[in-house]
Structure formats: C-alpha cells, structure tokens
C-alpha cells in the first residue's frame, strides 16, 4: 500500500466559465485546502496539470502563476501534460513524493478551459485535441478524438458484438448519475432513443455518445501516511499504476485491449493488495461511450467483451453490482482536460467518506480511478481506500 492519504478535495462546477485559468484553479485549490483545514503556507509543493493552455489561450508556464494566485509563490511547482491523463499523472507523482518522504504535504490539481469562451469554436478545438494523436501517421488522415475511439469501438463491436444500443445505455446511465451531481456540466436525463436519434459525430458515435467541451478545475491535498491521522477525514491511497502503449494506434498489438489501462490497473491493484473484485466502484475515462466499455473491461469491472452488456443490464449503474462513474463521468460531469484526473480523485474521496449525497454508492470502501490520455497511449489507475 502507498504511504499516502488524500486529506482534502475540491473542484469547481464543470461547465462554461468565463473566468481566468488562475481564478478557476484558485476556486478548486481553496476548496481543497479548506476541506483539509490547512492554509497554502503549509504546503511543500504543488503538482499541477494543464494540457493545452498554450494552444487554447496562449498561456504557458502556468505553474508559478497559479501558485502566486493562491499565495504559494516560492513553492517548487511541477507542471504535467499528458493529454486527458494530465492531472492523474500529477497525482501519481505527488503520491510517490510523499510516499518517499520527499515532501510531507502537497497540493495536486489541474485546470483547463475548452469551451468557446476561449475564443476557439468546435473545428479549432477539435484540431487542438487531435494534436494528442500522432502528427505524422494519424493527423494527416483528418483523424479526430471521436474518430480515435470510434476506431477502437468499431473493432470491439466487430469482435464482441457490442451494439449501438449498448453504447447508448452508457450515456443514459451516466446522464442519470449526473442528475445527482450538482457540479456536473449536464444535469438532465436522456434515453436510448434520444441518443440513437442524435447527429453522427464519428460512427458509431452520435452527439450524445460524446463528452462535452468543458471548463473547470479540481484539486486534492495529499500527505504522507504518518500525517493522515492529524486530519479530519483522510482517505488512504492504496496504489497508483501508470503505463503507456504504442503510438500510433495502428501499431498497437490489440486495438480493443487498451493495454496501458490493463498494465496500470495491474500495478495499482498489486500495490494496494487487491483484485478488481475487491473494488466497490470505479470512475473511468468515458470521453465516449465506447471508451467506458473498453475501460470497464480493462480494469476488470466487466469480463472482456461484456462491457456493453453490463451497461445495458444496469450492472454498472449506481444500484448495480459493479457501479461505474457515479459522478456522471466525463459524459455528464464534463471533461476540462487537465482537471479531469484529479476530479476523479475528488469523487473517490467523497464516495469513500460517504458524503456523495444522492449519488452515494453503498458500501463504498474501495474505489478505482481510470484516467486515459491520447489514443489510449497513457493510462493512470489509482486505488483509494477507507482510512485504516
């Protein structure tokens, strides 16, 4: 088990924010610090994630700027960029630093703006997102990120018989969960019929199979295990795994395995001393409905080939036996790229504390977060557990 604990968690609403990046991050950071009951002067370091600020808003070297904004200038700040897995990688490095005794108490978080408040409309933002695919061997085809996951999902449909109705069931489930999350970008339910009538983005994905462009920020306070008991509501870090897979996607050994997720999950479960069956719920990277199907299989929440069936049968719903994305996931909660990884850690923390309100998973002592970046090229899997 990792010798680390999450002792504070906070996030903004995900949605549209006509607010500067540092102000948005500050809102999440102070929520996390207040939740932990500490001030910025208690921090030893900041682990910060922002994936695309240089491309979207002409803003780079954000680390010292956000640190200054929250009254923490002078701290060592490391900034992470791993496409959509940006702040999960920041979390991994923070956990390893306190586990190793390099730091005692650190702030981890991320911020991103992806909506038209950046001045970038859908075609331009689609191109910026596509920069996380291979510049020479993928982008020249006109590939987009819905396209990346469409290629993986179509292969899964071919090999396992996954259907468009099963994909729609993932969207219906996550929208239903999102109605219980006051910070979700989308707060209304949908139906399989409504999903299947939407305009096609990249087949098999229609509009409602896709997560939105969102703005938002999230943050957590991480401490060494020996300090956990001096805080009100610590949640233990069981383990964190991190792996990459071959890019471009055509050269991956298996397009439906999302092997990096399998490797990261194995590493995290081994460190935590658990198997997938011991986990009570998971937050997975459902940037598209098909991505949740692949993810739930890769982390062992559904047998290979049955991720779609599990969703359609309600087994991955809040009331099912293998709950996935109680927060509403990226699909309903929203996906401000660099904030998504630590937002999953926020959800795990609240679920394990038992403070998730109407979206509370029953008996939620062990939670798994799966945060994926690029064309299934990076995945970080984290296991959080009730404090022992």
């Amino acid at each position: 088990m990792a010798d680390a604990a999450v002792v504070g968690a906070g996030m903004t609403e995900f949605g549209v924010h006509d607010t500067t990046l540092q102000e948005l991050f500050g809102e999440a950071a102070f929520a996390a610090l207040d939740d932990a009951g500490v001030e910025a002067d208690a921090l030893d370091a900041l682990y910060f994630g922002n994936a695309m600020g240089g491309q979207t808003e002409n803003e780079t070297h954000l680390g010292p700027r956000v640190a200054s904004h929250i009254g923490a200038a002078g701290l060592p700040v490391q900034r992470f960029e791993d496409a959509c897995a940006t702040s999960a990688n920041a979390f991994k490095n923070a956990v390893q630093a306190v586990d190793a005794g390099v730091h005692d108490i650190v702030l981890v978080g991320g911020v991103e703006r992806c909506t038209p408040v950046t001045g970038k409309e859908t075609p331009e933002m689609t191109r910026i997102f596509a920069s996380a695919s291979h510049r020479q061997y993928e982008q020249p085809t006109g590939l987009t990120f819905p396209g990346v996951f469409a290629l993986l999902t179509k292969r899964h449909m071919h090999e396992h018989g996954t259907t468009e109705e099963q994909l729609a069931a993932v969207a219906v489930k996550n929208h239903a969960h999102g109605t219980h999350n006051p910070r979700a970008h989308f707060g209304k339910e949908t139906t399989v019929e409504e999903v299947l009538e939407g305009p096609v983005v990249a087949d098999p994905f229609r509009l409602m199979d896709c997560c939105p462009f969102s703005d938002g920020a999230s943050a957590v306070v991480v401490v060494g295990g020996d300090l956990a008991d001096s805080f009100d509501a610590p949640v233990d870090v069981g383990g964190v795994g991190h792996a990459t897979d071959v890019v471009p996607l055509g050269d991956k050994a298996d397009l439906t395995a999302t092997q990096a997720a399998r490797d990261a999950a194995s590493e995290a479960y081994e460190e935590a001393g658990i198997t997938a069956g011991d986990a009570d719920f998971a937050e997975v990277h459902d940037c598209f409905t098909g991505a949740e199907v692949l993810a739930s299989e890769a982390i062992g929440f559904a047998p290979d080939g049955e991720g779609g069936t599990y969703a359609a049968e309600g087994r991955t719903s809040l009331s099912g036996d293998r709950p996935v994305n109680p927060s509403g996931g990226l699909k309903a909660k929203g996906h401000p790229i660099g904030a998504t990884g630590t937002a999953q850690i926020v959800e795990l923390t609240e679920q394990i504390r038992g403070t998730a309100g109407e979206r509370q998973v029953t008996d939620s002592e062990v939670g798994v977060a799966h945060n994926l970046g690029g064309d299934a090229a990076t995945t970080v899997v984290s296991v959080l557990e009730a404090h022992s």
């Binding site: 075609p123 085809t141 006109g142 087949d203 071959v246």
Partner: protein, 120 residues
Amino acid sequence: MSDLSYDEWADAVREGRLLGLACSCGHTNGSPTAACPHCGSRDLERVDLPTEGVVHTETTIQVPPATFETRGYQVVVVEVGDARVMGRVEGDEVDIGDRVTLAGTIAEDDDHPAPVFEAR
C-alpha cells in the same frame, strides 16, 4: 538504429509505396520508429509492405478538425501484410474485413501525406 526516416516513408507514400520495419521479434511496424516499439530492438529491417490489405477498423468522420474542409470522410486502419497502416478511403465506403488497395494520397494537412485506399 533503424534507417527509415519519416521523410523517406512520406516520399514512398507519395510514390504509391508503403514502407515498414520488420523486427526479429515478429512485429512489423507500419510507421517508422528508431527501435521496435514492442521489444526495443534497434536491428530492424526496412520492408516494402503490400499495397493491398484488409480493413481492420474504420469510421466516418462528420465533425472534422479545422483545416479539413469537407465532412463525411472515412478513416481506416488497414492490415497490410504483417503491419497496419492508417489512411483514408475514397470511393465506396468499406467495412471491417473488406479488401482494399492503395490508390493514392491526400495532403490536406501541411503537406503531410496520408495513404488513400479504395475498395477492391
């Protein structure tokens, strides 16, 4: 280190050829790397890949990125011999398992060529 650069691969695509790298581990790479991405060997053999193959997966993109003017184009991953290559399809749409043949290139993206396939 392998002796296949991106520029050589791209020039070959423009000439109607697909170049790959074969490794003694059994993997053949459809795009140049300095070493085998699966086993790390730098002892890779440059190979001419077949220009006919089978569709491994496909999608048709209706919301393109900026710089791509026309929506509704099909992107495929094609099995060419022991390797896979990503490209476009022109003409009739194809399904997984269909046979396709290399039919040209597109260069809509800053002169970066992409192979174009068509149904056989």
